[in-house]
Symmetry: none
Subunit: 233 residues, 4 copies
DNA sequence: TATGAATGAGGCTTCATTCAT
DNA sequence: TATGAATGAAGCCTCATTCAT
């Protein structure tokens, strides 16, 4: 854990790290301005990386997108990789939030939990297409320690969904003949792959896509359809 | 179309292209040796590109893998991109073959066709993990004309599967409430994503994976399970 | 000479230079605070330059050492080179003081003067290791006019020692067969090189080192040993 | 030792290292041409580094000196540091050779050995002023493992000379009152410092300088002058 | 005084590609 | 076919310095 936080800390430009160490976490206007700028930087990186791919995108491209000079960008980052890492971290934070909400739901059976999970996750992916596409295209461009950091968190995620499927099978809500580990991969496939085919300007709304994915996955693991045929349009 | 074939022609090393133009498709020992070497080159490229990603892999890396010098590699290729293009073409050739076989099947209902398609395709993917992973990771690194060439062929593919789903729905073999275009994406997701999670040295055999994927996708589009519970081992 | 003083003047931060020109050499508390800060700045620079070498040390490094930001450092300096120049000037001022004291000694023969000179100079060097090491490693990093300024003063130094050796030879106190110009270089070598091998935490005290150096150099130029075998501890 | 050779091996450009591994050490004209070019590269680096200092010299400068492009230089080196390392290694090889010859001398007392050592070493230094000046100015610019490699070899050197002085003292050939460890430093000072004051176009020949240095050092450690007053002119 | 954002130049290195041998 | 030297463009990063706040 300390290893990991070191990796994160190390990624911050010297001065910001120093400021943080001194406990300057107050919400002065300076800090707020700074945070806004950081967000802009990440957005520019997300745009550029998703369009050209991390490896083919240059620091120059990101700087151009921001309207500053290449050298100036290094006020906000230590290395180009920082941008990728921060982007992936953000995604992970959000995704874990979704998982946590699902995990904490009471009085809902595992099949419904999975259904909801798929819907939420798909909607999130489609709302964050750029970052998600980077997440799935460029994770391997990360240096080893950071890659590990992300991958390990993903593994937990995996275990949780697999156990939900197991539970559903145990309760007779899903086909018990299929290996839940393999099924979870199929379920993830359904969710994740959306970033490759969804067209924001296309006919189908995000909710419509989520609905199809949820139904596909639910039926796919052998679950009965939801009683109320509420299909989001 | 002529644009495209120009792109292809241009991509071949001078002598081979010339030979092809002259219709020299004979099978002399020289030609055979040549073809074997080409295959080795592509295999080396497949290894290197799949490990490091096309953009991060260097021509030097491929040459190293072959045990020759960078300069020597240019006897076989005109540009680095050639390697990527040829690799993707190979994949497409194979994939179209699978599709053609399925399409030509007589006396089989669309649901069974889809089932078989998923199985064949998944097995193929798992048998060609490196190339498939390049196909899905690095297609966008291709220059525009070549990219278009590949993408258009992929679109036909897409249309065919979508029509199979439509047919299945029309024949009451699949859930008619879901948009077949969206369903086809989910089906592709199930097939394609395998390259991201399948571990060649893992527990599950390729056929076992194909079986789960096929059942997941079949149920996912709302199809009845196959009567004979033949689970491939 | 006026060139030189221009160089010096230019090297001082605006306000200090202005103050000096107006003859404000008073000792107000502000001035004193100021001077203390300047000293801290030079110490920080001395530390950083001696550790990393002038060229490899960054203004950022010096600022870090002081615990301020890079931009803030520019309140005290005009350019990075200023720091180097001031440091070298300090050294020269001190060294000339030593030389002057020796030169003004009455009733002491040249051999004794040389002996004393070596001792004093070695002790000074060892007490100011960082600055001395910068002096001998990084003088050439100075821009031409400033470099000349320092080098010329060094030449005077050289001439004086050479003449002391000549005198000693003339008085039969040193080997007259050796060129005093070459001998003076050997004598300087003995003194200067200490900065490269002396370990502050080592066994030998500064005085012990000075004693050995003095005896080595004295004997080296062919001088009889001092009668009283007082070896400083 | 294997660490060290790894450091050396790692410093060679990929292909040359590979060639060496394959045992291609024959003396073909290619190999000879190559070696000549390598020598030119090192000479260019020696010139540039000695003039501007390693840190301030750019790879561009070295390439300019060679009349090739910056990028082309990387055919011969892996990093800029390689040039520095190879240069320092060369010096060390030569210097060790001198020491070995001295060490193997039979029937010569330690004082004479020291005398000869000083002469040979000074002449060598003056004949290789550029490289020697780099050696003493820029060793610390080397990365840690390589720096250690060099420094350790230097330490052996040091021990040998110290032991020669001890022996001379034991045999009544040198002043036994002075610590031989400190004396060896003074002796080295005499030899090394020459690179800072010797002017190739000056009055004194290299042998004359060597003669003065040898006599200075010999007398410095308290040794009797050589009987034959052969002063090299 | 101090801050921190920005500049712009330059440095090291990589790399696809060419070409004479 | 194979080699290896060379090219030239581009990429990542550092840094001294400036300036508005």
């Amino acid at each position: 854990m300390s290893e990991v936080s070191a990796a994160v800390a190390l990624s911050l430009p010297e001065r910001r790290a120093a400021a943080l160490r001194k406990g300057k976490t107050d919400d002065t206007s300076r800090t707020r301005r700074r945070r806004k700028r950081d967000e802009e930087v990440l957005n520019a990186a997300a745009k550029v990386f998703s369009e050209r791919g991390y490896s083919d995108a240059s620091v120059q491209d990101v700087a151009d997108e921001l309207g500053i000079l290449k050298g100036s960008l290094y006020h906000y980052i230590r290395t180009k990789e920082d941008l990728l890492f921060w982007l992936l971290e953000e995604v992970h934070r959000d995704v874990e939030e979704i998982l946590d909400e699902i995990a904490e739901m009471d009085g809902v059976n595992p099949l419904e939990q999975l259904d909801l999970y798929v819907r939420r996750q798909v909607v999130y992916n489609l709302e964050n297409l750029k970052r998600i596409s980077i997440y799935y295209q460029d994770l391997d461009r990360l240096s080893e320690p950071r890659r590990k950091h992300i991958i390990e968190r993903r593994a937990e995620h995996d275990r949780f969904i697999t156990s939900l499927i197991s539970d559903a099978q145990a309760q007779g809500l899903a086909n018990p003949d299929l290996d839940p580990r393999l099924l979870s991969n199929c379920l993830f496939a359904t969710i994740i792959w959306t970033y490759r085919w969804y067209k924001p300007r296309g006919r189908a709304s995000r909710e419509a896509v989520a609905d199809v994915c949820a139904k596909f996955a639910r039926a796919g693991i052998g679950g009965a359809p939801a009683i109320e045929a509420t299909s989001a349009s």
